[in-house]
């Protein structure tokens, strides 16, 4: 007999795992598109115009699949977790409702932007639409993240009363907009989503730079530069807010924090556990660095880790799957640091290719000789750098999924932290199984089909024609 709770959770998790990839594309594409159109208008460069137009068409296709996927996820949330959604509806539904209007903004303005492109008398007004489309896309993410923050740190109703009676009283529907973790989570989620999306596009543009020549190459070079700039800004934002979110976890979700650190200790000089597995409530095969966890948490190697930041303070029944959460977190940090280092090197090389900066260094003979090395040439012309950028794109997508697993699995067994468990919220109607399987199969087919379709649509376009014809 199929465990329906597990099936529901698996189906939801799988759908979300695919959906967030579409979201990264849907959130980043309008930003790149908007920048491209602005540069085109401001500096009258036709290649940027073509870029904006092409990206707009790609956005329509991804939007079609992404919105449908979003509807599936939203409906899954409604039908797979009826008890959770009933509580959410009585307390914290407002962000969901607001998201609909962000979604409308994107849908309506994208329609106008793409289909009535030539009807605009003023190009700047047309460009302004792209800004609103990007804002709509980002705000959709912001509102949905508010729901996730509510799941992690529920508020806005009398929780002790609900736990004892099952009834909801003292409701403040606006409290959901500002839970203790809301804004940090928004910063981290939006930052990492845009980072991953831009890295994905940068990888694609880097690949095309390796494969094309002539004007086509010049076109992809311009696109790659926009994507690279976004990656660098977004990764800084993600790292800074990521550190803040760990601090938040210690305070508001200490059990989750203890799980991701696989920490059983409290007091001063607590070791940082890297890797490892949990066997019979003991950590094995890990690397322990004495005092490092104390240092990271307090700034001192002898800093005190509170007892509630240790798994020992909690009943085993409420622990999330420790090994999974801990290792996905460590992998996230490790891969994130690797990408960060690679992008810093990339940025330095890029900056050294700006004439004004390079000129200053080249006045010194040592630097002149050093900068003449191939590694310091224009990074967008360097095959090695381009190949690294492709790897960064793949790693960024992995990183996004990995971080999401850490967050969601880390909240287990709760759907609403310390209020409602996943098993209590699940729909145990067997009717979900056949359609659930169909959804899984459908996603497997639709996602790659969409990417291949967009690729083919773009490939079929003749850049020379597009440059000849006004967009």
């Amino acid at each position: 007999m199929v465990n329906l709770v597990l099936f529901d959770a698996g189906l939801m998790g799988y759908s979300l795992a695919v959906h967030i990839l579409l979201v990264t594309v849907g959130m980043t594409l309008p930003i790149i598109m908007s920048i491209a159109e602005f540069v085109s208008i401001k500096y009258k460069i036709r290649l940027y115009d073509v870029l904006a137009k092409r990206l707009a068409n790609a956005l329509v296709i991804f939007f079609a699949v992404g919105t449908a996927s979003g509807v599936v996820v939203a409906i899954e949330l409604f039908v797979l977790w009826p008890k959770f959604i009933s509580v959410l509806g009585q307390v914290g539904i407002l962000p969901f409702y607001m998201e609909v209007f962000a979604f409308f903004t994107e849908a309506i303005l994208l329609g106008i932007y793409v289909y009535f492109w030539n009807k605009f008398k003023s190009r700047m007004k047309h460009w302004l639409l792209s800004v609103f489309i990007a804002v709509g896309a980002v705000m959709s993410g912001v509102f949905i993240t508010m729901i996730n923050a509510f799941m992690n740190t529920p508020n806005g109703f009398n929780i002790p009363y609900y736990l004892s009676t099952g009834k909801i009283i003292d409701v403040n529907p606006f409290a959901v907009l500002n839970t203790p973790t809301t804004w940090v989570e928004i910063g981290h989620v939006i930052g990492s989503t845009i980072f991953a999306g831009a890295a994905f596009f940068l990888a694609y543009f880097a690949y095309k730079l390796l494969k094309t020549k002539g004007i086509e190459r010049e076109y992809y070079k311009k696109a790659a530069k926009i994507a690279a700039a976004i990656v660098i800004i977004a990764i800084i934002l993600t790292v800074v807010i990521g550190i803040e979110s760990i601090t938040n976890l210690m305070v508001y979700q200490p059990e989750k924090f203890a799980a991701i650190e696989m920490n059983f200790n409290s007091g001063p000089h607590v070791a940082e556990v890297i890797g490892g597995f949990l066997v019979n409530n003991k950590t094995v095969d890990s690397i322990n660095i004495p005092g490092l966890m104390s240092f990271l948490a307090t700034g001192s190697f002898n800093g005190v880790i509170a007892s509630n930041d240790s798994l020992a303070a909690y009943a085993k029944g409420t622990w999330p799957p420790i090994t999974v959460v801990h290792n996905t977190f460590d992998i996230m940090v490790g891969v994130g640091v690797l990408i960060g280092i690679l992008m810093i090197i990339f940025l330095v090389i890029w900056l050294l290719n700006i004439n004004e900066i390079r000129g200053k260094f080249e006045s010194n003979n040592f630097f002149k000789k050093l900068l003449s090395r191939k590694i310091f040439s224009d990074p967008f012309d360097n095959p090695l750098v381009l190949r690294v950028l492709i790897i960064v794109g793949v790693l960024a997508a992995f990183l996004l999924e990995d971080g999401w697993v850490t967050d969601e699995v880390g909240r287990q067994p709760w759907i609403l932290y310390n209020v409602m468990t996943v098993s209590a919220a699940a729909n145990t109607s067997a009717s979900v199984i056949p359609v659930g399987i169909a959804i899984i199969v459908f996603y497997i087919l639709v996602f790659p089909a969409t990417i291949l379709f967009v690729r083919k649509v773009m490939k079929k376009r003749d850049l020379n024609n597009e440059l000849g014809a006004k967009p």
Partner: protein, 345 residues
């Protein structure tokens, strides 16, 4: 009259109006291949808005009547998930048909027709859920199960769905000015209306003179188009909206045949906050839809800046963009670096 229920009914009427019109588009793709460019011109910019209205309505139910959802989830989980799944197919095939390249083995018409078939199924599912919720057809007394056989063996639920589809077929001629055998327009519309009104009355739903007046008006629209060839799309939109909202109001506050919708109302704090968001969001939405309509009606711009712009040479200095977005190429060292075979520029 309860404000929350009224808002929900208005939204429901808007959603089904958009779906009804989309149903007409789907019918046209199959009925008359020549309608493809006309239908696409209407449908391409608007399909996303239709989908968003469906989401809007679903979330509105969640905001105003969250305690009804467990019953809906348990009874209609299969058709709702199926419709959601097909919704992906609807979007995919529609957008694929829009961007399919000329020498592809899949033609634009073929993809549009696949979209049509999927859309039919979605509309039939949604109409089935709608009629089941307001009439109680197929539901049990405890609202824990849905009997597909009881629903399908009720001729009036089938009459309701078939009637709605026939009306959509009849009015699709009017909406897209289809000429092919246009005598079918008034025939399908009138037969559909008779079947539709008769079925809803047999399902113990209230009908009165308003229902008959609206049915007569819809029939007239179709007949006038057949006789004169003249039609306006706005009339079809308005007629559909009024018809759906009249059914709701004539059966005000009734769900699952005998239950009262007011018993499912959310607590006052969330419901009130929901109304505030609806008002603010509704104003924004109305503004954007009016802007959309304005742009839709606007002729192609001969005076657009795009026709006047003179693009500069890419290599010239363009200030900050030159520095950061487009630094000079790799000639800065006085020589180009060694490149592979694909690196000739």
């Amino acid at each position: 009259m309860n404000t929350y229920i009224t808002i929900n009914y208005v939204l429901l009427a808007i959603v089904f109006t958009f779906l009804f019109v989309e149903g007409m588009s789907a019918i046209s793709f199959i009925y008359d291949r020549k309608s493809l460019p006309v239908v696409k011109k209407y449908l391409d910019p608007i399909w996303a808005i239709t989908g968003t209205f469906v989401v809007f309505f679903v979330v509105n139910i969640e905001v105003l009547f969250p305690s009804i959802l467990p019953a809906i989830d348990y009874m209609y989980v299969f058709p709702i998930l199926l419709a959601a799944l097909l919704f992906i197919g609807r979007n995919v095939f529609l957008v694929f048909s829009e961007y399919i390249w000329k020498d592809s083995k899949f033609s634009q018409l073929m993809l549009a027709r696949i979209y049509s078939l999927i859309t039919f199924v979605i509309i039939i599912i949604l109409l089935s859920i709608f009629i089941s919720i307001i009439s109680g057809a197929g539901t049990n007394a405890t609202l824990t199960g849905f009997s597909t056989s009881a629903f399908l063996s009720n001729p009036y639920t089938l009459g309701f769905i078939l009637g709605a589809l026939l009306i959509a077929f009849g009015l699709s001629f009017v909406f897209y000015k289809i000429e092919k055998m246009k005598v079918l327009s008034p025939v399908a519309t009138v037969v559909g209306l008779l079947l539709f009104v008769f079925s809803i009355s047999r399902l113990n739903l209230n009908v009165n003179y308003i229902t008959y007046a609206l049915a007569a008006a819809i029939a007239l629209v179709s007949i006038i188009y057949y006789l004169t060839g003249k039609a306006r799309r706005e009339i079809v939109f308005i007629a559909a909206f009024l018809s759906i909202i009249s059914i709701n109001f004539l059966n005000y506050g009734k769900v699952f045949g005998t239950k009262s919708l007011t018993t499912y109302l959310n607590n006052s704090a969330v419901a009130f906050a929901g109304i505030l968001v609806t008002i603010v969001g509704g104003v924004l939405l109305t503004g954007m839809l009016l802007f959309f309509l304005y742009m839709y009606k606007l002729p192609d711009g001969q005076n657009s800046d795009y026709n006047k712009v003179e693009y500069k040479d890419d290599e010239q200095k363009i200030g900050i963009a030159n520095l950061y977005i487009m630094p000079n190429n790799n000639k800065v060292n006085g020589k180009e670096h060694k490149k592979g075979k694909n690196w000739k520029r």
